[in-house]
Amino acid sequence: MWNFGEDTMKGGLGRYQFWCGFFRLDPDNETLAAPPRFTRSDTAMNRPWSGFLTVLLAAVLAVTSIGCQQQTEQEELVIYSGRSKALVDSLVEMYRQRTERPVSVKYGTDSQLLAALKEEGDQSPADVFWANTTGALSNAIENDLLTTLPDSLMNRPARFAPASKQWVPVTTRFRVLAYNSSNVDSTDLPASVTGLPEIDELDGRIGWTPAYSSFQDFVTAVRTVEGEDAARQWLQGMQDLNPKSYTSNTPMIRALAAGEIDVALTNHYYVLRLKHGGAEGEYEEEEGEEEEAEEEEEAPRRGAPVNTYHFASGDVGNLALVTGAGVLQTSDQREAAQEFLQFLLSPDAQAFAASSVNEYPVVPDAGVQNYMLPVDDALALSPDFNYDQLQEIDATLALLRDEGLL
């Protein structure tokens, strides 16, 4: 985003002066940097040192005056992304090439970006908020940050479109139970996630992520489907089995692979990434059918054999969760922003998400990797659920705090 052409240098002068004023340094006058010398030994010690300092100072000023320059001539689409670089970078590059519109991305976590958006208020430069969780998007709606999107965009996804019409779903992930298949026999695992606390043999061998948004969404689903009391009982029953709490799924799945735990409540793609890497494998349409039987072991075994367990069809333990994006109120180019969302829902972009981060598409005509469970099968496993209920995150947080998990 920087160019070092002539006009940059000219334009940079303002900031340079701002800097100089700020620190009361006069760039043309070296009195500060070159100290007076009055004895022989003093001179000998002094000169190289002050030279070094002068060079450093000059470097500071030069670098900042060049770097300060922001490119403003062209209308740039600014995306605040809670989603990771692994997915976003390539998609943005793809979009840039297609439309030749300059796009730049600010990365962060959902909560960091939301906090920044709130503090920026109507001075925010952002056009699009692309979040990792529906919770963050709901919070953005509550704070009146998002705009209503046209039906042409909202009708595009085959499922999960929110009633508010203020954001579009971009990808889907599923809750699963990951397990170490050499220590746990999948036939011993319960048909429902609600039956998990009854498996006493798993004492001390379970991993979960109470502070992680996907887990909290899952608890919200348990609360609304099974009732508040059942959710509380489930949490208490689980805690009796002394589960290990991880802050996020990555260290948890590593712990599973390292044999520290034997089962883990997680999202489906963490297992896939562990086994197949985050690599951009070429994507083949509807080929691998019986690929779930992933029993063949990779030659150099770097960890315990980790497999995916799905609960019985329709169980809340198989809940589908969506990520999404919306256009911000502060955007001065809403049309371009909507066009970007439209692009995210294109078959190419959707298939890329499936291949690069192993998440499921939300539009009907995009395929997934052959080692992934086919879209329809995965959806059939997920319970019937009104996704607008996931907004009720506060009651879930209160419950988790009550049970000492947060």
């Binding site: 900042t64 990771s84 670089k85 600010k106 920026e120 001075q123």
Partner: protein, 534 residues
């Protein structure tokens, strides 16, 4: 002093007054922001969040970890500092570099490395068949933090040891003290400012650490605060909790101030300080090498090897040179100016604190540490509000990021300069004044050269921290600005260690290069004064 006198001297010494004002403003703005936000809280829910047994337990964990790491770092840093300054070990320059480099390893990388090394399927088990229990919890957090932060103490101690006047020891020996007595009653007391400033940094670092404790699953106070914050998307309660953390920091700062009272360690006589003659280790030499080697291997070798091992997978498909180069430039263009700026700001803060130890001066110094202890996320949000309100044109510019780094990390720069100042005799400056120099000329021409070593260490500290920094960079950087640290974290967070590895390695390699160059300058210079003065 009356108010008028204060104003008068502030005008006369503007070169001290202006940076002090900047520092004070830079720290008080976030504090004011936090107070404003905290006051928006509903009292009922606030009480629920703050008054909980869980918080007491977390506080206990935090204190235990902080104390443990302080002991651990002392046990590592002190022998290493002594070996590299006062013994006759060969290759002390290299060992010194090894004592600094752990600062180039981001905390979460260290934690991931330790987790990946141990256990049934760890790299140790795979490559050598050695199965150690998978490290986590208190031990894991203790080990990762000790290995990652001991350089703060090491460098402070080293600066102090190099600046010690050997004639004091010689007199003590001549007057009949044994070596041990000399060490305990003459050398150790002189190292107190260094111990305190190094220990303070380490303590504050542990208090605020989130990366290591979260990966090691050891629940401390800051860990809980972060989770509350991330879970509820709420800046109001986050502000309340940040203030609680600051209160804890305040207690530590008071303690340090009490311990630091009335210290003066400069030479009173005439002439120049000589270098002490190195102690011969004799038969203990191999033990010295073994110790330094083990520390260096665990804190630097292990992370580099492990990250290299991760990279081996992806290296085959080609490294992302273009984005590595872009991110490296971004990292350096923010970190290098920030390091110099931080040292320039820290210089007057330390100077006033040591030479004019009034209550006000002490307050300014404490304030600098408060800025370090302010959770970076809160610090960044406060700067967003302030910049958009007062200097909207500076928002999301590199200049803002540089200033933010400098203000936040300035506390790291104060310690080494302060330690050096304690050893710089004020009467030299007074002599320069009497010979007709202005205060600025006297300060810059006489005192600053004596602080060279401290200044270099300060620049190195801040540079290394800024290279790894995440929350400030996330929120304040220009849009589209990608540093190495952001890249490494982004991939590692998605479990793509192969992709994260090149960025993590570049951080370490470039930091090593930069610090190596700084230290090379230092050794070059230390030889010279002797020749001139001799």
């Amino acid at each position: 002093m009356t108010v008028r006198q204060v104003l008068e001297s502030a005008r006369e010494r503007w070169y001290v007054a202006v940076p002090l004002a900047v520092v004070t403003a830079g720290v008080l703005i976030p504090l004011a922001y936090l107070l404003v936000r905290a006051l928006q809280a509903e009292p009922g829910q606030l009480v629920d969040l703050v008054v909980r047994w869980r918080n007491v337990r977390l506080l206990g964990n935090t204190v235990a970890l902080t104390a443990g790491v302080l002991v651990g770092t002392t046990l590592v840093a002190f022998p290493l500092a002594w070996l590299t300054t006062r013994s006759n070990l060969q290759g002390r320059g290299l060992l010194t570099l090894l004592g600094v480099l752990p600062l180039a390893v981001p905390g979460y990388v260290m934690a991931y490395v330790l987790l990946a090394t141990t256990g049934q399927y760890g790299t140790l088990a795979q490559t050598m068949g050695v199965v150690l229990p998978r490290i986590s919890g208190y031990e894991g957090a203790f080990l990762a933090l000790t290995l990652g932060t001991y350089p703060y103490l090491y460098l402070n101690l080293r600066t102090a040891l190099l600046g010690l006047d050997p004639s004091l020891e010689e007199s003590a020996r001549a007057l009949g003290y044994s070596r041990w007595e000399t060490f305990r009653r003459v050398i150790l007391p002189q190292l107190r400012p260094a111990f305190l400033s190094g220990g303070l940094l380490i303590g504050l670092h542990v208090l605020g650490d989130f990366g290591v404790v979260s990966l090691m699953r050891y629940e401390t106070f800051s860990y809980a605060l972060y989770l509350q914050y991330a879970a509820s998307y709420d800046r109001v309660y986050a502000a309340c909790l940040a203030l609680m953390l600051l209160a804890l920091t305040g207690a530590i700062l008071l303690l340090e101030a009490r311990l630091l009272k009335g210290l003066l360690y400069h030479r009173a006589g005439s002439g120049t300080t000589r270098r002490a003659a190195p102690w011969s280790l004799g038969a203990w030499k191999p033990a010295g090498y073994a110790f330094a080697g083990t520390v260096g291997f665990l804190s630097v070798g292990l992370p580099v090897l492990t990250v290299g091992y991760w990279m081996a997978d992806t290296a085959a498909t080609g490294l992302p040179w273009a984005s590595l180069g872009r991110s490296l430039w971004a990292s350096v263009s923010a970190s290098a100016p920030a390091a110099v700026l931080a040292a320039l700001l820290a210089l007057p803060v330390a100077y006033v604190g040591v030479r004019f130890p009034s209550k006000g001066a002490k307050a300014v110094e404490r304030i600098a540490y408060l800025g370090y202890a302010t959770p970076p996320l809160a610090f960044a949000l406060a700067l967003i509000v302030f910049t958009l309100g007062a200097l909207p044109f500076a928002y999301q510019t590199l200049a803002l990021l540089v200033v933010a780094y400098a203000l936040h990390f300035m506390a790291e720069a104060v310690g080494p300069i302060r330690s050096a100042l304690y050893q710089a005799p004020p009467n030299l400056e007074e002599a320069a004044r009497s010979l007709g120099r202005t205060p600025l000329q006297a300060f810059w021409g006489v005192t600053v050269p004596l602080l060279r070593r401290g200044l270099l260490v300060s620049v190195a500290f801040v540079f290394l921290s800024a290279m790894k920094e995440l929350p400030l960079t996330f929120l304040l950087s220009p849009i589209g600005f990608q540093t190495l640290a952001l890249d490494a974290w982004s991939y590692a967070n998605e479990a793509m260690f192969g992709e994260a590895a090149p960025f993590a390695l570049t951080i370490m390699a470039f930091s090593a290069l930069f610090v190596g160059l700084l230290l090379a300058r230092e050794t070059e210079r230390t030889e010279q004064p002797e020749a001139v003065a001799g």
